[in-house]
Each structure stands twice: as C-alpha cells, then as structure tokens.
Point group: C2
Chain length 120, copies 2
C-alpha cells in the first residue's frame, strides 16, 4: 500500500484526506474489517471530524473504495497519521497476506460546499 500522504503541517484550516483503494473483488469484506480498525484509531485522535468510506456500486470498477476523512487542520491530520497506534493498525493491514491493497491518498481543502438553496 502506497501510503505517501503529502500534507502541509502548516495548514491550520480544515483538511480532507481522500484515499482511493484498489484490491481484488473478493478481498472487499476483509479490507472493510481492516479499514474499520484504522478508522477507530483515527477517530480517537484530536481534530478528527468525520470519516466516510464509500463502496463502488460497480463491482467491476478498478477503484473499489474511496475514503473521505475530515480533520480540523493539516497539523492534526499529520499527528493522527503519525500516531503509533495508527501506524501499527495500518501496518497490520499491509502485512496481511490475504490483502492486496493499493492506496492513492491525497490531502485537499474544500473549495466549494454547496447545499440546496446556497448561492455560489
């Protein structure tokens, strides 16, 4: 799993980590269990706001899951992903011989947040 998260610890505003996961179709359930372990640890860290894991409707899609995780700041995100408990949880996922997952993470800021009736 390529876990090169490029973020900027100087970003004091909220950030969103978006991670696209590819894996063989029959590993989806096992991945989901491992992801939940990672998410539990992340959710305990300061600055955690919300995490959503999206499962592709198309079973033949290359990207099977996309993770959208909000943190209060880039610094909080960096600290959370560097926390030993989180690193250990990710390591268990990586070392699982029955999981063949590649991840494509990147960090974003929200440019537009549109609700019905909002003006743009």
């Amino acid at each position: 799993m390529n876990q090169q998260i490029q973020t900027n610890a100087l970003v004091s505003e909220p950030v969103t980590l978006i991670n696209a996961f590819r894996m063989p179709p029959d590993e989806a359930e096992r991945f989901l269990r491992a992801w939940k372990n990672n998410a539990r640890v992340a959710a305990e860290q300061p600055g955690f706001i919300r995490a959503r894991l999206h499962h592709c409707l198309d079973d033949n899609a290359e990207v099977r899951f996309i993770n959208v995780v909000e943190f209060a700041s880039g610094e909080a995100l960096d600290k959370a992903t560097a926390h030993p408990d989180f690193v250990a949880s990710v390591r268990r996922l990586l070392d699982d011989p029955n999981l063949h997952v590649t991840a494509q993470p990147a960090v974003f800021r929200v440019a537009v947040d549109l609700h019905p009736g909002n003006e743009l």
Copy 2:
C-alpha cells in the same frame, strides 16, 4: 472529458458520485468557474443533497480536484445528470478550448459513516 457515469437507476438509497479531475495547473481557476455552473444546475434537481469540490493542497498533484456529490437515490442522480440544462453545462466545459480536463467519475454508496464517539 470522459463522462461515463455508471450508476444503477434501481438504487433507491442515497448515492455519492465521486469524480477526480485532472488538468494543467494554470487551468484550475477557469475549471472552478465552469464547475460552479455545472453545480448550480445540479443543485436545482430533485434529490440533490450536497456537493463539495476539493482542491488538492499539493500543486504538483496529478488529481487537482475531487468532487463529492450526494443524491437521495441512484435514480435521482441519473435524472439530474441527464437533464438537458446539466448536459448543456457540461458540454460548455468540454467545448471550452482553454480547458483540458479529464474526469474519472464513479458512483458509490456509503459503507461507513464515522463521527467521534460513534461505535463501529
């Protein structure tokens, strides 16, 4: 722009369209304006819940923007993206000679929605 959205009109539960956009760095502002036009039209359609456009913190990233759009059902999403006003707005973006955008859309359901204090 490759706009092959594969969704399932039979999905009666909420769906999330996630779309990754690639473009030359100097086209980001022009793209943002064009995207807002598309989003305005989408937000007027029945079943629209929320759209967020994320801008990558890393200016050298290949994926510059990721769009996360929630609709009340797969059917509502299909109808919205087939609406003539939306099709025309997307067409204007595609036909803009000053924009060189590729899109990678897919449709998802939320598998996990985690807030602080939630149990998994």
